[in-house]
Amino acid sequence: MKGHRGFQMRLSRRVGFLAAFFNLLTVLVSPAQTAEGLTSELRKFENSPGFESDTTYLNKANELGFLLAESNPDSSLVFLNSTILLCREASYKKGEAEALKIYGNALQNTGDFKGSIEHYNTALAIASEIPGEKQVPGILNNIGLVNYYLGNHTQALNNFYDAIKRADLTNNANVKAAAINNVAMIYFEQGKLTEAKEKYRETLAIYQAINNPGRVILAYNNIGDVELRQNNPLEALNTLKIGYRAALELKSPEFIEMTSRTLADIYSALDSLDKAEALFRESISMSRENGYGVPQAHSLIGLADLYYKKGKLAEASGFAKEGLQQAESMAQPMLIRNANELLSRIYEEEGNFAEALQSFKLFKLFNDSINTSQAQRLTASLEAEYEFSKRELEYEKASLRQKWIIFSTIAGLIAFLIILFVGNQNKNRLNKAYHALQEKTAEIEIKNEKLEKALDQLKATQVQLIHAEKMASLGELTAGIAHEIQNPLNFVTNFSELGSDMVQELREERARKPEEQDQSLQDEILADIQVNLDKINHHGKRADSIVKGMLQHSRTSSGEKLPTDINALANEYLRLSFHGLRAKDKTFSADFHTDLDPNLPKAEIVAQDISRVLINLFNNAFYACANAEFRKENPDVKPMVELSTKLVGDTDRRQIQITVSDNGPGIPSAIADKVFQPFFTTKPSGQGTGLGLSLSYDIVKAHGGELKLKSKPGELTTFTIFLPV
């Protein structure tokens, strides 16, 4: 438990800290440069004429730009842009590619991942034109990192893989190690510890070979981390001791802090509490001095845990609270979760059950959200891994083939010579090599098959889940359907009864003597009969369309898009949703209101698919504002769901806008971007598949439209569907 937790914490640091680190790699030409030094050097150049096209000047400008992009990304953009333009004017391709890449770094640091990738791609295009293509691997590695942050693991692994291959070709050891490190990072996240360790060992070997002491320490630290997670604290201890000693020798606060923290985790796992305490304290004081926010939170919580183990609850509580505060200010969900878990144990032991429960609730909250996002990442990475392994195998095959060609050529030559002396020998050798190759190929094929099988299973599971979601939403519909059919049938019954009465009355009237007959009464009765027949017809059709809609909903979508009246569809499903919930729960009470644009044109849609989206949004909206808990806490709020439709956009790009709003608790911005992810649900377990909104999102996208969420917590939540006309 302890080791596991340590690792997840380490992971977030690893991602944050290492990634930034490995971005820099390819540019660090002169390591000890400062921004001030570079600025004054540039000033000197600017005194001589024609400096703008001097490549030495432009290289220096890129070095400065690089530092600025890391330290002050927002304000660096203007300077970086001017460097790009100068290089372009001077037709200095290498400088331009470099400047574009640095611009990408700066955007990445500001969180503009899309812009970042665009600039990296432009840089890549230029770098590929330059003979030698020396800058290509570094740019690929950076693109990989952005994709990793965006959760595109397949893409990221492909990028890293290309970076490794290209770095190999250009003998760029730094980039090769960085990209391998990033692959290791992903393995680590997937829990593939053996593979992660192997990759980290590769980086260690490279850094040792090129004599980079800082990164050697980093590699030891990461390997130790993996060993601790593998439940090998003794092995980890040996590894970290080397790293820690090296960090002390290097006198680098960053690495001393990092290794002492990992070492403290290891000692803690080994129950050497005093040693662990000294190291945690060292980490805390160094972090405080240098402003390492996340490490500080980690070590404070680690220290609190130590005191808890020793039974010193007051101290444990103090450090845990401080750690929690720090973790919250750094927005670190894992650390917040761990601190709350520890605090709930401390409070419980102190007999403060109210606080214990409060902390435990927070722990649970963060734990659930972390587990959900991990499950999602795992699904994504499984597919990513399949893609990656496929490429790795192809590469292996290709290089084997190449080796085989070289080998057989040489073997052929030797054979030609030897054949004069020893008749059969070469044949045996060739046979052996051939069999080795065959074995390898067979192995590769088995591996391949296994992965294909895993992917097939994954896909089958996905299909099942989608089916389950569909059935669940049909189940939610049935009660509403029953009500919506019952109502028109009641009218059919009553109006037809009335009709018979009227006919009877008319007969009686006509049985009178002609002079006693009341002509206007007869006309009135006939008009009433006409009205009744129209009503019967209308309600019959109403029931018919409900049944048709239900059948359509359960049928597999034919995928055919047909012109559909959106107002009628949305209105029908709003009622179904309302009556369904009402029939299921007698205490359910909510209001709905519609504002439908009468001039809406028909939209080309797959009606049964869009209806699923609508029923989902309506059910969610009613659930949000009318669930028992919310109503108890907010007795003054009158639950209300609003549906509106509108035609928006320019004449050349018109869109139908469908909004569904509720006045429930709203969706906190922290989870707003998660609601469209599969398996995300806030409903109690067993009440939602967590697939509804994710499928809805996919369906709307498949129609070339958009599904958007806007929420003001405490006021309202609005989902908006945009459909092209």
């Binding site: 109502n487 009218f491 007698k586």
Partner: protein
């Protein structure tokens, strides 16, 4: 004699106006219709005490449900006769209505004869 019908289905008006055509013509009955609980309360609250002698209300309506309306009417006008007309004749709805002071409980489709008898009984009583 004024009677108020409350139902979210608008065709209820056509139905009852036809059914009671004779009574309306002779001035024996006057019918009013509300399409939500809120509207019903507005109509009833327009005069104090209300001129209506009987309210028939649907249960399943958006916004205020018929059972909520029943409670509201009973608290404001304790003497008002209220009966429910619902497609759901289950015991849960029935018990809730009766315990909240409903006079009668009718299921849909409406049994016109029973309804007419109920209204005719009003005349005898008064």
């Amino acid at each position: 004699m004024k009677i108020l019908f409350v139902d979210d289905e608008r065709d209820v008006e056509a139905l009852f106006r036809q059914k009671f055509r004779k009574e309306i013509k002779s001035g024996e009955l006057e019918l009013a219709f509300a399409f939500s609980g809120k509207e019903a309360l507005e109509i009833l609250g327009a005069e104090n005490p209300p001129k209506f002698v009987y309210v028939f209300s649907d249960i399943n309506m958006p916004g205020m449900s018929g059972l909520q309306l029943l409670e509201e009417i009973k608290s404001r006008f304790p003497m008002m006769r209220v009966s429910m007309i619902s497609a759901y004749g289950d015991s849960e709805n029935y018990d809730k209505a009766i315990s909240s002071g409903a006079k009668g409980f009718f299921t849909k489709p409406v049994d016109f004869e029973r309804l007419k008898e109920e209204i005719a009984a009003l005349n005898e009583g008064s």
